[in-house]
């Protein structure tokens, strides 16, 4: 039995070390179900989360890209960030505040941020002040220059979100020549018999 136990513990150690627990999202959404069984890739995923209150949240699954994007977007809107703020930002899975308020949001500690989350305004995406598109474009640029890889764009919408918000986001991105989207869904079984 000893070799088996050795192997079991080896595997336990391997999986324990490789597993990364997902940090807590700023917003919890319940994606609708579909029969599509395609899986998202391992990395380079940009997630736009849309909740039922018409708010949009931005997240990228790589910390260096998050940091580089923050600096690039900050430079565009003339907002500068301290190294501590950039570090904090790169560790967050997603966020939903206008860039002007981002600095003070990052200065708060985890508990305070958590308390703020339900009342966050989301990233502005109206035509006059479209920060959402800037974030997406800068993140794509940052990922291309840092890792030489294309970005995979995922839209994670709440089932109760209205189509108008999702369409608005898609339309804004289409205007910037992003035409391929991936809607995050939960898996539902395919009907075994379709016809009557």
């Amino acid at each position: 039995m000893t070799p088996m136990v050795d192997l079991a513990f080896l595997l336990v150690t391997f999986f324990m070390l490789t597993t990364q627990f997902r940090p807590e999202d700023a917003v919890v959404v319940d994606p609708p179900s579909s029969t599509s069984d395609l899986r998202a890739p391992e990395s380079d995923i940009l997630t736009l989360t849309i909740d039922s209150k018409k708010r949009v949240f931005f997240g990228y699954d790589k910390a260096p890209v998050m940091a580089a994007t923050l600096q690039a977007v900050g430079a565009k809107y003339n907002v500068s960030f301290t190294p501590a703020q950039i570090r904090q930002f790169s560790l967050m899975p997603n966020f939903g505040v206008p860039i002007q308020q981002l600095g003070s949001y990052l200065d708060k500690d985890n508990e305070q941020r958590k308390a703020l989350n339900p009342g966050l305004p989301g990233i502005p995406y109206d035509s006059l002040n479209n920060q959402m598109v800037t974030w997406v474009l800068e993140a794509r640029k940052a990922n291309a220059s840092l890792f030489k890889k294309p970005t995979y764009l995922a839209i994670k919408g709440d089932g109760d979100a209205d189509v108008a918000t999702v369409q608005e986001v898609i339309k804004d991105l289409q205007e910037n020549h992003i035409d391929r989207f991936n809607l995050v869904t939960s898996l539902e079984m395919k009907p075994t018999y379709v016809g009557k």
Partner: protein, 189 residues
């Protein structure tokens, strides 16, 4: 119980006490149980972390294209599906041209997302009319009252129906004013 009986047997034998030899082997079963439990847990959590996705490719927008140059579809091919409030689906065949006297007002029917709802309508239409083109119109925009707007869930549901029924040609379009007016006229919204 077996131990007690053994003791009784020993004392009857004449009192020669012998030091009990302790086994050097320990029972590893609980440890192995735990190890495998952890192994299963970590294996399952790593595999299921990736979300499922549904691909949506939108047509490339060309601003130089005028209305006349855009693809016109034949009335016989067109099927319009409107995502109504409360998980309802409105649909009609043909085109809705209220300004053109030659085109009759389409017959709008109501169904739902169940297995016998819109799916059967699409399958029946595919048999009747080869290569139909589906226009999916979510209710959104200023012309539609706030509480009648389509839910994102229904948009995913209808795209899913396209995959299930193997529908090749479909498009997600903004609802034109004339269609909202038609629904209002029929008291559907």
């Amino acid at each position: 119980m077996a131990e007690i009986q053994q003791k009784g047997g020993d004392s009857g034998k004449g009192g020669k006490q012998r030091a009990k030899k302790m086994s050097t082997k320990i029972d590893m079963t609980p440890m192995v149980d735990l190890a495998f439990l952890l192994l299963t847990f970590f294996m399952l959590t790593t595999t299921f972390a990736k979300p499922n996705v549904m691909q949506l490719t939108m047509p490339v927008k060309d601003k130089n294209l005028t209305d006349e140059e855009q693809t016109k579809i034949k009335a016989s091919q067109a099927v319009t599906i409107i995502l109504g409030p409360g998980n309802k689906v409105f649909y009609y065949f043909g085109l809705n041209e209220p300004n053109d006297k030659a085109t009759p007002q389409p017959d709008v029917k109501t169904t739902d997302f169940s297995a016998n709802g819109i799916r059967q309508v699409l399958l029946a239409r595919q048999k009747q009319e080869p290569a139909p083109i589906i226009l999916i119109m979510p209710l959104s925009g200023k012309a539609v009252p706030e509480d009648k707007q389509s839910k994102y869930k229904n948009m995913v549901d209808i795209l899913d129906e396209m995959n299930i029924t193997n529908q090749k040609k479909y498009a997600l379009v903004d609802i034109p004013k004339k269609d909202v007016d038609l629904l209002k006229k029929l008291n559907l919204i």
